[in-house]
Symmetry: C2
Subunit: 252 residues, 2 copies
């Protein structure tokens, strides 16, 4: 079960008052809120992504942190948003990409709202073996239109599922959607009304698309011959290295 970004935290206008309210409400990962969420997931015996929470870091920083609670009631993973929505958000950025293995399904990569505007996030998570990107969102503005395009593009370029869960009106613009590894929309909410999108995602679908190709044609993770030279990417002071490109084969 996946809920939107900051689902358990209030909205408020992005001003000093909100920041102070968040500072008071912020919780450490070993605090009461997370313990209660763990218990809830354990009682219901479900995987639970309760959106993100406002996390208080060890030095008092604020992070926008997505959680994944396991059916055994454990905090299986937490991810601090790497790209806070600046200048509106008061959060410090995280510095770690996070995936979590969901027994019986596969691997989920965690992503929060504005992260989706940086294709590096889904690329990195897919390379770490994610079968699905779980993007929790609190988009209250008209740029939800662009996010619908970006969700599909991330699915296409990485051949993964993308689940983009936005909060409903009147706060959010809704339009949550689930995209398949070829970029097709499996299901979506067509407006800002609250709703539930039930879906069964099969990781074998990811493998099938990568083996047979998108539209039966394109196998981007199998592009290279192993002897080929790296493609230098000065934008990243890095490169695409043919011998470590395939998520199945880079030994991480």
């Amino acid at each position: 079960m996946i809920f939107p970004e900051l689902h358990l935290f209030g909205d408020g206008v992005p001003d000093q008052q909100r920041t102070e309210a968040l500072q008071e409400a912020a919780q450490p990962l070993d605090g009461r809120l997370v313990r209660e969420l763990q218990q809830l997931a354990g009682d219901l015996k479900v995987w639970l992504v309760p959106g993100s929470i406002c996390e208080r870091g060890r030095e008092g920083q604020l992070f926008n942190t997505a959680l994944a609670l396991s059916p055994e009631g454990k905090l299986a993973a937490s991810y601090r948003k790497i790209f806070p929505w600046r200048p509106h958000e008061p959060y410090d950025p995280g510095d770690q990409f996070v995936t979590v293995d969901l027994d019986g399904f596969g691997r989920a990569g965690l992503s929060i709202c504005y992260d989706a505007w940086f294709p590096e996030v889904s690329r990195q998570l897919a390379w770490m073996g994610a079968d699905v990107i779980v993007n929790v969102v609190k988009t209250t503005t008209k740029d939800r239109a662009q996010e619908l395009v970006l969700a599909r593009a991330s699915a296409i370029t990485n051949q993964i599922f993308v689940v983009s869960v936005n909060c409903a009106g009147p706060t959010g613009r809704g339009h949550s959607l689930i995209v398949d590894p070829e970029g097709g929309v499996i299901d979506a909410l067509d407006d800002d009304a609250s709703g539930i999108l039930p879906a069964q995602l099969d990781r074998a679908h990811v493998q099938k698309v990568r083996s047979h190709g998108t539209a039966g044609l394109n196998r981007m993770w199998s592009q290279f011959h192993s002897h080929e030279a790296p493609i230098e990417l000065p934008v990243y002071q890095g490169r695409i290295n043919p011998s470590t490109w395939d998520p199945q084969n880079h030994g991480q």
Copy 2:
């Protein structure tokens, strides 16, 4: 004037016979074909991207190479496709990203067809200062549907114009389009009929979107504070470095 990928070269089924035909037809960049195209651009006094040509390299390799001819009749730039459409294409990959400064407009980044399936290409070109991605295409298959999403996503994430020029039917699937720096479709051909898309693109539009934000909100190239630590991207053995992120400020 921009024409589709391999516009001056025949189609044929991707088999040994086609490869042999291409080997015979391939031209070096200082050969007759390019000279004639230079003369044409000079006579018409236009910037001309005659799609890509089948280039014969110094060691007899074949490259799929986009050209930009200037109104002065010069070969201003050539770009060898970095991501050949494998296994169908017989071309060796290029190893250099290429931009070209068009007097009076701005900077164009050259890209060919399947390059668009790798978001690294448009990211790298935007970082090199491109105001527009010129993607020449010869998509004959149903995955043109995905390419329409990718064209918009590249424009959104990089805040640049994207011009995706596909060949018409019966060979190609058409659906050429021009996208603005917020991902809106400026103009498009709605089917595979041949057609012309006249458009006036203003690089000031790129600067405006980056300054005011996409939808008046998002300024992804201005995300970082200069003292912030790099975001490590193991997929590229590289990183996003806040101090060199902005295309205006990295000194290239």
